[in-house]
Symmetry: C2
Subunit: 430 residues, 2 copies
C-alpha cells in the first residue's frame, strides 16, 4: 500500500488529527492515522456524560468508520512510544515502526496538577470517556452513600461537590450538577433531599470564564449564584486529600472533588527530543513545523504558538481543527511545488459555555450573546458539529427528554468489582 506516494502519518484522532486527515482528501498521499483509542471524541459534550445526560456512544465514533471511504487512509489502533526523527519513523509499543515522509502530531493534552500529581486520585479530571464515567460514578455514588449515612457531618461532606477551575468545563459541570441534584434526583431518596447538595466552584483567578469579555464573566457569575452555586474567586487550592480540600486558608470536608483547572500536553516533546514549554507543549515555527524539521508538524493542544497579534492560540477544539487543516495545506502546497513556508493564521470563531439548563454565554468577539437565546444557539451549534446523523438525532432526543421531563437517561454506576465493594474509598481507579 505504501508504494512510492508521499506518506503522511498522523498521530491522534482528535479534532486536530481528524481535520488533517479530512483536509488531505484528494491529495496524492497515503495516510496512516494512529490512535490508542478506537474512537474520536466530541470533547465539548464530555461533561454531559459525566453528569449522566448523555451516554458514551452519543459523543464518540470509531475513527476507522469516519475514514472508511478513504481507501488511501489506514487507521491503526496502537500506542506510539516515540519518534525516530533521523530515520523518519514512528515507533509503536510493540517495537514496530511506521515510516513517514510527513508527520503530524496531534496528541492533545491531559489535565495537570501543577506539580501535585498526588491530587489526581482525589480530584479526577475530564478528558476521556473513562474519566467521564469515573466522575459520573463518583457523583451518583455520593448521593447513594449519603442516603445510608447517619452521621450528619459525613452526610454533609457526601452532599458537597467541589469543582476546581472556573473555565467552561468547571462552569458547565457546576450548572449540570445543580440540575442533577435539584431536578433529576428529586423525590427519589428517603433519608436525604438531594437539593441539600452544595456545589462549590473554586477559582484561583479573579473571574469565572476569564477568556470571555468581562460583561459575560459578570453575567455568568450572577447566573451561577442565582442557580445556587457557591463561587469562590481568588482562592488558590493548597491541599487536596481523601477527605476534602484546603483553599484560601479554609478547609472544606467534601467527598467529591473534580479537577477542571490545568492541562499538560502529551509527551510529543519528549518523543522529538526538544525542550517543551512550561505546559509541556512543543514550540513550533510559524507554519506549525518543528524547528529544523519541516517534515514534522505539531498541532492543537500539543503545540504552542503565538499569533502576530501577540495572542497565543487557545487550547480549544477549533484551534486544533484549524492547525490540522493548516498542516494538510502545507503538505499539499509542497507536493504541488508551491511555497514552502505558509504561516498559520488562527481565526477565533468565538467562545461559548452553558450555565445550567436555560442559560449560556457566547463571545463572538465583535458581539456577545447571553441568556436563553445563547442557550439555544449553543445547543444547535453542538448538534450541528456532532459527527453523524444518528448521533445528532440521539443527542437531540436526549436533550429534548431532559428539557421536558428533567430525566437523564444515563444514570448508570458501572465499573469493576473492586469499586463496587468500597464505593467511597476506592473510586480513584479509572
Amino acid at each position: 500500500m505504501a508504494g512510492k506516494r508521499h506518506r503522511v502519518v498522523i498521530v491522534g484522532g482528535g479534532f486536530g488529527g481528524l481535520a488533517a486527515a479530512q483536509a488531505l482528501e484528494r491529495a496524492d498521499v497515503d495516510i496512516t492515522l494512529i490512535d490508542r483509542r478506537n474512537h474520536h471524541l466530541f470533547q465539548p459534550l464530555l461533561y454531559q456524560v459525566a453528569t449522566a445526560s448523555l451516554s458514551t456512544s452519543e459523543i464518540a465514533w470509531p475513527i476507522r468508520h469516519i475514514l472508511r471511504k478513504r481507501s488511501e487512509a489506514t487507521t491503526l489502533l496502537a500506542t506510539v512510544t516515540g519518534v525516530d526523527v533521523a530515520g523518519k519513523a514512528v515507533v509503536l509499543e510493540d517495537g514496530s515502526r511506521v515510516p513517514y515522509d510527513s508527520l503530524i502530531l496531534a496528541t492533545g493534552a491531559r489535565h495537570a496538577y501543577f506539580g501535585h500529581d498526588e491530587w489526581e486520585q482525589f480530584a479526577p479530571g475530564l478528558k476521556t470517556l473513562e474519566d467521564a464515567t469515573t466522575i459520573r460514578r463518583k457523583l451518583l455514588l455520593a448521593f447513594e452513600a449519603a442516603e445510608r449515612e447517619t452521621d450528619p457531618a459525613k452526610r454533609k461532606a457526601l452532599l458537597t461537590f467541589v469543582l476546581i477551575g472556573a473555565g467552561p468545563t468547571g462552569v458547565e459541570m457546576a450548572g449540570a450538577i445543580v440540575e442533577l441534584a435539584r431536578v433529576t434526583l428529586k423525590g427519589e431518596f428517603r433519608s436525604i433531599s438531594p437539593d441539600e447538595a452544595r456545589v462549590v466552584l473554586i477559582e484561583g483567578g479573579k473571574r469565572v470564564l476569564a477568556n470571555f469579555k468581562q460583561e459575560l464573566s459578570d453575567y455568568t457569575l450572577k447566573a451561577l449564584r442565582d442557580l445556587g452555586v457557591e463561587v469562590e474567586l481568588g482562592a488558590a487550592v493548597t491541599e487536596i486529600d481523601a477527605g476534602g480540600v484546603v483553599y484560601g486558608g479554609k478547609r472544606l470536608d467534601v467527598a467529591t472533588i473534580i479537577w477542571a483547572a490545568g492541562v499538560q500536553a502529551s509527551p510529543a516533546a519528549k518523543w522529538l527530543g526538544v525542550e517543551p514549554d512550561r505546559a509541556g507543549r512543543v514550540k513550533v515555527e510559524a507554519d506549525l513545523t518543528v524547528p529544523g524539521h519541516p517534515e514534522i508538524f505539531v498541532v492543537g493542544d500539543t503545540a504552542t504558538i503565538t499569533m502576530p497579534d501577540g495572542k497565543p492560540v487557545p487550547g480549544v477544539g477549533d484551534g486544533a481543527k484549524q492547525g490540522g487543516k493548516h498542516a494538510a495545506r502545507v503538505i499539499k502546497a509542497r507536493l504541488g511545488r508551491f511555497g514552502q513556508q505558509i504561516p498559520f493564521r488562527y481565526k477565533h470563531a468565538g467562545d461559548l459555555a452553558t450555565i445550567g439548563k436555560r442559560a449560556a454565554v457566547i463571545d463572538f468577539g465583535r458581539f456577545q450573546l447571553k441568556g436563553w437565546m445563547a442557550w439555544w444557539v449553543w445547543g444547535i451549534a453542538h448538534i450541528y458539529f456532532l459527527i453523524d446523523t444518528k448521533n445528532r438525532l440521539a443527542v437531540a432526543l436526549s436533550w429534548l427528554w431532559i428539557y421536558l421531563s428533567g430525566q437523564r437517561s444515563a444514570r448508570l454506576i458501572t465499573q469493576g468489582d473492586a469499586e463496587k465493594k468500597a464505593p467511597i474509598k476506592e473510586m480513584t481507579e479509572a
Copy 2:
C-alpha cells in the same frame, strides 16, 4: 419510617424483585429493595450491547428512579452478605442489618463453567453491563489486532469467534457477530476483510434452541447455516485456554470465545443455610417459600420448583416476574388474613429468539412463528417491554438506524489503562 407496618425486604432489582415491589403497590407494607447495582437491567437485549448495537444506558434504568413515586419504598445500593434467619434481618457488607417481616430473595444467577472456573478468564459470559462491554471490547479488538497481524495463522485465530452454548443467547450472539463483521465493519479495514470472520457455535446437545419445538430448532439451524455460522452439535467442550478451545476431540485456535452455556444461582442458599440443588438454587415450597420459613420467598433463577405438570419453571425473565408477583400476592393475602399457602402456577407465555437481522423464531406453545414476521413481533415486543418512553424511542431509533444503514452506534472500546496496553492478553478483567 419502619413504624409498625409489615416490613418487606426485597434483595435484587431484576425482573423478579422489581415485579414483587410493583405488585406490592397499595399493600399496607414498607418496602426496602436492596441491590448492589444502581440499575435494573433488561437482560434480553444485553447481547445487543455486547455486539455494539445498543448503548448501556438504553437497556438499564436506575432502580431508585423506577420506584420514585412509591413513598413507602426505599432503595438501597448495598451488597448483601448474609441473612440472619433467626433474627429476621438481612446483613449488609458494612455489618449493618436490615430487619424484615417478609423477605423476598431475587438475586438471579451468574454463568457457570461446570467445575472449570479457570475457563471464565478465556470465555466470559454475559450477565451484567460490564460483561457486555467486556465482550464488545474483545470482539472489536480482535478485528483491530487482525488488521495489524502479519502471521496468517494468528490472523485466522483473531478472526474466529466461538460461542459455546446454542440457547437463545448463543444463537442471537452468533447472528449479531455475523452482521457486525459482514455489514457494519465492511470496507473499514485495509489489511483484512472482516467478512473472512468465522463464527462457530458449539453445542453439547443435539439441537439448537433445545427448549423450542423441534420444527423451530430445525429452522434456526438452517437459518444460522445460511447466514454462514458454523454450527457444531453434540460437541462437548473439554478444554479452553488463552489460545483456543478443544471440542469433540478437535482443537480450534481462536482468540475470542464467549460462554453462553450454563448458569449458577447466586449464593442465597448459603445465606439461608440450606442445601442447594446442583445449579446452586434453593428448593422452595409450592408457594415459593423456603421450607420451615414461610416468611422467606425465593423467586426467579435463584429458586428451583417443579410445576404440577412435572416441568420445571424455566430460568427466563418471565418466570422471575411471575414469581415476584406471586410472592407479593401471598404477602398481601396473609395481611388480609386470607389463605396461608397459595401455590405458584407458572404460565409459559412463549419462547423467542432472533437469528441475524431479519429472522426470528417464536414458540407460543399452541402455535409457532418464524422468519421475518417473527422478527417484527420480536422487535415490537422487546420495545414494548422496555421500561420507559425515552428508552423505547432510543432503542427504536438505534434499530431503525441499523436496519437502514447497517451502522451500529455503540462501537466503543473503553476500559482502564491496563487493558488498553495489552489488548489481546489482558481482556479477562471485567
